[in-house]
Symmetry: C2
Subunit: 417 residues, 2 copies
């Protein structure tokens, strides 16, 4: 007999079939119905959320995490608004990626089609529940959601609201299902639901990613660990460098595209580090500096240990290192990069070209903040996560990354000689 | 201390860096040097191969497999010719996939870059050793090869020849390495070489694929299991259907895009099956028929068991089933498809549209042979395998599928508000 997770995955697979051939108008109607329902039933959502928040506080959850967990009427409106924006985006399904007529007359086209069933494992952020459901529906996929247990009450209500909304436009409720009630065992079973789950997107810390890598037999996409560097080259414009470093570190320190290490060319360190040190100290950033940097920063710092170069702080901390030249900078970044985002500030075309050609990451940025690596910022409309792997999707994953392709071949009796 | 496989993978990673930024001219020169060297040292290759073949024969290897293992002077010329054709193909690296200027003035482009290190596990076919090395080099990747043990002697000589040729154009020998000598343990270690091997391409039977799915912690692409169907619709042109069925089954029965099941609409079964039965019997095909088909085929058949519908024969065997309508055909194919290639023969536009919209496979073919699902036939120039998974690559995998992408972002001091 099927386990609960297998039954859920089978129901998702069956539901995904009716969505795969649904025209855009039906999918967009579903998204708008979901948005309306969330607002209409906002009180029930907020009541469930208030209970989750109270329980989390009582359990001593850190304030930053409590903030991510908390919903307000304004936040619910924002989440509903994101669904409406999704409805306005082009449908990725049916896009012809390439095509040609072969010498034997066969017409060949490669067409985007839905994956089928997308599994999503993520932290206690109720907005991700809605975003993932919306991106799934728009890209023609059923979704199976496993959110952080701290948000389980909120998620249960939200998933009910979304499923009801799907039913009002004639789509199966099973397109959006939660497995929160099955705990960690349920999540591991989801990782093993081979043939039923077409792709698994884990979104969370290094522990979750490691578990998925070790356990998953379904195809998975790694997301989100970002030990991002900003390298200030010898020829950098000092004011650009100050603004980019401060923004990359401090504009929102808890996210994966925030900078974690500042690497400075020795030739500019004496001019730049006192300025940067003052900016960063004023913003409340703790600096973990190597000896050269500590001497030049002009503000207090703590000594950088070897492990600082590999730490994704996700907080107001920044490692700082002075290097003798561009080669040493590239070498440092290569050794410690997680392949997310690396930025250079320079006025040298040669340095910019070497940086973007010789490093290997999802995003390589010249003279701008690391914080731009984001689906919304890149104009992809929305994102389900930022892939740091090389297979299938690299960088911000939007709607197209939730599809696969089929080759359609049309002939009139051609056979192979 | 590093194991032998880890050392090899580290050397491959280091070597891949020098290739990643090599211009097309260097890579093409390498491919031509590899082709020339194979022909020049053909005698050594053939001598090693003769020993492998003699050992395989003595061990009782099946003739079909011995044929795949066997090299001749002509086959070596053909293999070298394939390298020269690769040199003539466009370079996938550097291709700009998409790009735009964002409202804040940032210039964004998504550019193809090499994966880095490609691991390849395959059967005892020496031509795959050369094809994989060639595709790897052209796409800017280092390759680590694990061929079937029966071809180990041949592969050792070939890898030596290819590495020597790389050295003559100034590229590192470590771009092409074999781990044949480390046996199965070596292959499993390769599956675990996370962070060093960027993608693993297993090419072989269901057993190998299962092992990779279970064991691999490096990203892997499934290839090649094809339980392909040909469905003959009520309105099919009888002569087209005869030729397509015969070609799909018998033109080369041992490959993954050969048909394994014939599904026939009841309304045309009486007219079609006697014709198809004669064609297939003359070609030496054993028919595994359901009751209705057995009655109509007009030639001897064996009863189809339930397991026949799921068997990839890879031989002159064909399962045959009569269905009452298109819905039943779609249902049968959905239940037994491995997602490789499904073909319909029909003159009905509605049937063709339902077939291509409602089924889910790498290739969906209307009025042509299943045998066309092939990188060469599709005009991709060459293929490293046929993916039956949905992530990253689906269907024939050519040079582009051996690359990933990087987002390059250029600005003049932009920060995020």
């Amino acid at each position: 007999m099927d386990s609960a997770i297998t039954s859920i995955a089978r129901a998702a697979k069956a539901a995904s079939r009716s969505l795969a051939t649904a025209p855009r108008s039906v999918k967009d109607a579903a998204l708008l119905a979901m948005a309306d329902a969330l607002v209409a039933r906002g009180e029930a959502v907020l009541a469930a959320n208030a209970e989750d928040v109270a329980r989390a506080r009582a359990a001593g959850m850190r304030p930053g995490l409590v903030d991510r967990l908390t919903l307000t009427a304004e936040r619910v409106d924002g989440i509903a608004g994101a669904l409406r924006e999704l409805a306005a985006l082009p449908d990725p399904v049916g896009e012809v990626v390439r095509g040609s007529t072969l010498p034997n007359g066969l017409r060949l086209k490669q067409v985007r089609v839905p994956m089928g069933v997308v599994g999503m494992i993520y932290e206690a952020r109720p907005n991700v529940t809605v975003d993932a459901a919306g991106l799934g529906i728009k890209s023609g996929n059923a979704v199976i959601l496993r959110g952080g247990s701290a948000a389980a009450g909120t998620n249960t209500v939200i998933v009910g609201v979304l499923a009801d909304a799907l039913a009002t436009v004639g789509l199966p409720r099973d397109l959006v299902q939660s497995i929160d009630e099955y705990g960690r065992e349920g999540a591991v079973e989801l990782m093993h639901a081979r043939g039923l789950v077409d792709v698994l997107v884990p979104r969370g810390g290094a522990d979750l990613i490691q578990t998925v890598v070790r356990e998953a037999t379904v195809p998975a996409i790694e997301t989100g660990v970002g030990n991002c560097h900003v390298y200030v080259d010898a020829s950098a414009d000092l004011e650009d460098a100050r603004r980019i470093v401060l923004n990359s570190k401090a504009q929102r320190p808890g996210v994966c595209n925030a900078a974690e290490t500042l690497v400075v060319h020795a030739a500019i360190a004496e001019a730049f580090l006192p300025l940067a040190g003052r900016d960063l100290a004023q913003a409340g950033v703790t600096l973990h500096a190597d000896d050269d940097a500590a001497r030049l920063l002009g503000v207090p710092s703590v000594p950088a240990e070897e492990e600082d170069w590999d730490t994704e702080y996700l907080s107001l901390d920044l490692a700082v290192r002075v290097v003798p030249d561009l080669d040493a900078a590239l070498e440092h970044i290569r050794a410690h990069s997680t392949g997310h985002t690396e930025a250079i500030v320079t006025s040298s075309l040669a340095s910019a070209n070497r940086f973007t050609r010789e490093l290997d990451a999802a995003a390589l940025i010249v003279n701008a903040s690391t914080r731009f690596t984001d689906g919304g910022q890149f104009g992809l409309g929305a994102e389900i996560g930022i892939s740091t792997q090389k297979l299938h999707a690299r960088g911000p994953m939007g709607l197209a990354e939730l599809t696969t392709t089929t080759w359609i071949v049309e002939g009139e009796g051609q056979i192979r000689e």
